[in-house]
């Protein structure tokens, strides 16, 4: 029987297969214990999966208007490269730390003032780190209208960007991932409810913290 699984669902199942999505107990930076863990950087070691990711991005981006694809460190750069190669797009990327010598500063590649860029990244959390990329681009007179990410962790990132006047598209939310894994019987109900509970609680805490600050 032919399966009518779409590319997005295929990508989610493959991310589980390569251990980019794991279930268990993981200590986060904040000290919290998370019932799941995501490491999308693993994508770079699976060329066909990186290509699949680029295709999933392209479906989302193809109708948007932009001159240059911009990779955000770290995993955004290989994803942006894969998109640029497949669809013959111009690409630049942002450095994590500006060079202290030589020609480059924050932006690497060929670009011109007045170009419209689309920012590519793997994950969005609260969205604040995206401005570390947008600010130097603005200084170089590249306008960023769109930000496209693979995964929205549900911590308010897209909302923050939209409030500041940017379009933000996320290909999956974390809930999409759990639902797909459930539909294809990769994880049981109990694991899902633990994960969903964790997300709801951390989001509540996050929103409370935002309100107070």
């Amino acid at each position: 029987m032919l399966s009518n699984i779409n590319l997005r669902e295929q990508l989610i199942l493959d991310l589980l297969r390569i251990n980019a999505i794991r279930f268990g107990k993981f200590k986060l930076k904040s000290g919290l214990i998370s019932p799941f863990y995501l490491d999308l950087r693993l994508l770079v070691s699976y060329p066909y999966l990186l290509e699949l990711t680029a295709e999933v991005f392209w479906e989302e981006m193809r109708t948007l208007s932009f001159d240059v694809v911009i990779g955000v460190p770290y995993t955004g750069i290989p994803i942006a490269t894969a998109i640029a190669l497949k669809h013959n797009q111009s690409m630049i990327f942002i450095r994590k730390e500006p060079k202290t010598y030589g020609t480059g500063k924050f932006i690497e590649g060929e670009y011109h003032a007045g170009q419209k860029g689309i920012l590519i990244d793997d994950v969005i959390t609260n969205g604040e780190s995206k401005f570390e990329s947008i600010t130097p681009l603005k200084q170089a007179q590249i306008s960023v209208e769109n930000v496209t990410v693979l995964l929205d962790r549900g911590q308010g990132g897209p909302e923050l960007l939209r409030n500041k006047g940017y379009q933000c598209y996320s290909i999956f939310t974390i809930n999409d991932i759990f639902r797909t894994l459930e539909r294809y019987k990769r994880i049981d109900k109990k694991t899902i409810s633990t994960c969903l509970k964790f997300i709801t609680e951390t989001r509540k805490e996050f929103l409370a913290k935002q309100k107070s600050s």
């Binding site: 770079v44 990186l50 290509e51 640029a84 013959n88 690409m91 630049i92």
Partner: protein
């Protein structure tokens, strides 16, 4: 070995994109070097990136290795080689993240795997050695460091002296001679460029000797 046709094609591409540019004959010298090199510009031209990746692939496909690795700034080049030849890739972070337990090398790898590091050029020998050290520190074996360009100042020799295999697809001298044969530069310009290269090499070796003593 690079065929004459491919070599010429590469040089034309480097020249046309401005990745390698020469000072015009009568231009007053504002900078010390009679040429400027910014190979990162290539990242913005997907077709050229594929062409360059093809040159790397031709040199690498007869060798034994498990992974290719890119330093941060050459993630697009490493990604292109990985996608074109279906070789798994890992990358080395530009800096250590704030919290201690994080990995410096990202992607999927096992200790003892053999790695070919791909880079556009060695701008700083100490940086290159640090990168190789980070990979070895993660349990990987360095098979070779493979570069697009060797400026010919002596950095590849220095790296070889440390016990690594280090090769480049093209040298700066190759580029100058080819540009001369294509009538892009005059005999006087060629002489000036060659003399400048020789003086850079002398200076590099002198610095190296001072650092060693």
């Amino acid at each position: 070995m690079l065929s004459t046709d491919k070599k010429r094609e590469l040089i034309i591409k480097l020249y046309e994109t401005g990745s390698v540019s020469l000072q015009r004959a009568n231009e007053p010298s504002l900078q010390k070097a009679p040429y400027t090199i910014n190979l990162r510009l290539l990242n913005s031209y997907p077709l050229i990136l594929k062409f360059v990746a093809g040159l790397f692939g031709n040199e690498l496909k007869s060798r034994m290795f498990d992974l290719i690795a890119g330093p941060f700034t050459d993630i697009p080049l490493a990604t292109t080689i990985s996608l074109e030849f279906n070789w798994p890739m890992i990358f080395v972070r530009e800096e250590r993240k704030g919290h201690g337990t994080d990995k410096l090398v990202e992607g999927n790898f096992q200790p003892e795997q053999g790695v070919i590091v791909v880079d556009d050029e060695v701008e700083d020998v100490a940086d290159a050695l640090q990168l190789l050290g980070r990979l070895e520190g993660s349990g990987l074996k360095i098979v070779a460091l493979f570069l697009l360009l060797d400026r010919g100042y002596g950095s590849t020799e220095t790296i070889r002296k440390k016990g690594y295999q280090c090769e480049a697809i093209i040298t700066l001298n190759d580029i100058f001679i080819e540009l001369f044969q294509m009538n892009k530069i005059s005999p006087e310009q060629l002489k000036h460029l060659t003399e400048y290269l020789a003086s850079e090499k002398k200076e590099f070796l002198l610095r190296q000797r001072m650092e060693e003593s």
